[in-house]
Amino acid sequence: MSIQLRLDQSKIDAARAAAQAIAQDIQSFVDRHTTVAIERAVLRLLGVDGVSIEQIPLPNIVVDTVARAGRLNRGVSFFLANAMLETGLSAQAVAEAVAAGELDLVQLPQHPPAVVQAKLDRLAQVALDRICTKRREREEMLRQYPSGEQPWLYVIVATGNIYEDVVQAKAAARAGADIIAVIRTTGQSLLDYVPYGITTEGFGGTYATQANFALMRQGLDEVSVELGRYIRLVNYCSGLCMPEIAAMGAIERLDMMLNDALYGILFRDINMQRTLIDQFFSRLINAYAGIIINTGEDNYLTTADALEAAHTVLASQFINEQLGLLAGLSHEQLGLGHAFEIDPAVEDSFLWELAQAAMARQIFPQAPLKYMPPTKHMTGDIFQGYLLNGMFNLAGVITGQGIQLLGMLTEAIHTPFLQDRFLALQNARYVMRAARHLGEEISIKPGGRIEQRADQVLSHALALLTRIADIGLMTALEQGLFADIKRSRVGGKGLEGVVQKAPDYYNPFLAPMQQTLATAAGGER
């Protein structure tokens, strides 16, 4: 149990209602569109993988030919299945033939739509079964090697070299990490394709490729068995390839994925229409694969002030909750982001951090909140940084966070050294052990500074959500209401990849995934 605040439930309800309206508005736009990335993800799920001799991924080649013919609005899978029927080849072989210029998907004779769709549905079922197998594998691992107490300790590896990453990840697991995230190289989220194969070079991170995912999963499984504690693997969906990476993550049994269109819009200047559409399908896949998503609200506080902009984090969490639910995610899969980013020079900063963290915890009681460490106010003073991270860990355990992303004492200097990560784990283990039951043993003064602060943030969030419900999320982003950053509806990267669905559009995964998830959610109730 963690510390409790008295919050005004009516404000929470009103905020949630406003967020629901905002999300539904977005969803109706999303439902009318597909994107190149969604179609590539469909191909990947159907078994298309690999690259051409020019190193271009086959899903890109296939989608691009259909797009060039102006028929992406029918869904690429229709053409793939049609070609499979026509040629008797596997999905992969069809794609290879397309890449070799031996096959023109759109020009092939078309089988009756019902026949093609039936073929597609069968193909999709194979893919879905494959994902279910992975999901059950995870459940089995977790049964045999249960996770430790929350907050789970989450650390990153980011060397650029996957082999080096695996060694470091295993060392981290031994030192107490529960979750390992492999950070991507700086440029990757702007690539409109997913790199292929095992990679050993990157800047500030390692390429997210399916082969890298598999290698890391294998390493972590080994160490999980050894330690008797399942170590979760994380990678990133955000960017121009959200749905494709979600598909790869589902296949390689990732456990968590950073998945947030708003992050891409604000921090990577990705076009908002594109990425909101992508986000829906990627989250659907995550949901189906039993993957916990992590949202990126924490980042707002790196460009905006953590005290002034605290309410934007909360407002965005409400929106992400509703968008996530619409994509079939359960509450337990919503790793909403927030952060410990108040300037340590501020008096009572720790009180304000507690207020915000406890508030988020209570407003989203089932969500495994992802609590981010200080980054902005970290300096080259590694000693002070280590301490700041300790106070963050204390806030995490007192307020009962789900996922504690550990701060590195060298945050202001370099991506983590092996020893930085080791020290971070030692820090968290000590603080959380020393204050394990502190949250249970203290109560917050009613109406005092902490409660007042939480109420203030909640009230501001409600006001902001009411305003956004009025103008719509896209306009809100144009007005710079989040993270002090303005983005245009038609600016940024990737708009050219958005396609309005034709009436005959078909995606064989949408219906079965949504149905299964709806049934599961129904069953839960």
Binding site: G160, V167, Q168, K170, A171, A172, A173, R174, A175, T185, T186, G187, L190, E201, F203, G204, F267, R268, D269, T302, T303, A412, H414, T415, F417, L418, Q419, F422, L423, Q426
Partner: protein, 247 residues
């Protein structure tokens, strides 16, 4: 107890004691041999009185070390020369007045984070209206016409835009430095500018937490600004240096 500035040595608690703290990792399994290895390594680097005060097993055959040792050498502090942007500091009003008098027109400033760098906070701190640490940003200067292209701008794109806007000054920010990617990006930009015959027409300035003026000069820039830079320092430099070069 009076420090001799020609022979400066690290100070623990006694003048001249040379005390230093180190921490590092060795890819060897923990044990007495590891401790000895850590000690010998530091001795081989020239340290004296090496004391390994802590070792920890980090798993996978890695050992963490904390050590204290004495640095036997000293340096001559009086001989230290730091290359610095060598213009006097002018404040907001003085800078605008200087441009008005000595240049007589608004200077066009174009800025961007190049490569895949998406860290705009530093560049924004310098360029945007809002400014930094209470100091107004370049956009607020009436005598500067400022274009902030934002993040992840390819060098080619930046150069094209600079040509289009007839830029007098180009500002580039580089925050990500892993595997020296900033050196790569900054060098590439200079090459493109030179290839396009633009290098001599603009004042070329870079900045970021790991940028020093010295490094900037080495890479062919006119100035470099590091951590904690304030906008007026940049504006003041721009005004004077531009006028100087165009005399």
């Amino acid at each position: 107890m009076q420090s001799d500035l020609t022979q400066v040595r690290p100070y623990g608690d006694t003048l001249g004691d040379g005390a230093m703290q180190l921490s590092f990792t060795l890819p060897v399994p923990i044990g007495p041999e590891a401790i000895e290895a850590g000690k010998q390594l530091l001795e081989k680097m020239g340290f004296q009185a090496v004391s390994v005060v802590h070792v920890a097993d980090m798993g996978e055959g890695f050992t963490f070390f904390v050590a204290y040792a004495k640095c036997p050498i000293s340096i001559d502090f009086t001989a230290i020369q730091v290359p610095q942007a060598a213009t006097a500091f002018l404040d907001f009003d003085a800078t605008n007045e200087f441009i008005r008098q000595h240049i007589g027109r608004r200077l066009v400033v174009v800025g961007a984070c190049i490569g895949s760098d998406a860290h705009t906070v530093g560049l924004d701190a310098i360029m945007n209206m809002k400014g930094y640490a209470g100091e107004p940003g370049l956009e607020r200067y009436p005598m500067l016409e400022v274009h902030n292209l934002g993040s992840q701008v390819q060098s080619e794109e930046l150069v094209a835009k600079a040509r289009e806007l007839e830029a007098d000054v180009i500002l580039v920010s580089q925050v990500v430095t892993q595997k020296d990617v900033h050196i790569l990006n900054l060098t590439q930009l200079v090459e493109i500018l030179e290839a396009e015959g633009l290098r001599e027409k603009v004042l070329l300035i870079c900045g970021g937490p790991r940028i020093s003026h010295e490094l900037a000069l080495e890479l062919g820039y006119d100035a470099g600004f590091g951590a904690g830079t304030l906008p007026p320092q940049v504006a003041s430099f721009i005004a004077q240096e531009f006028s100087q070069r165009n005399k």
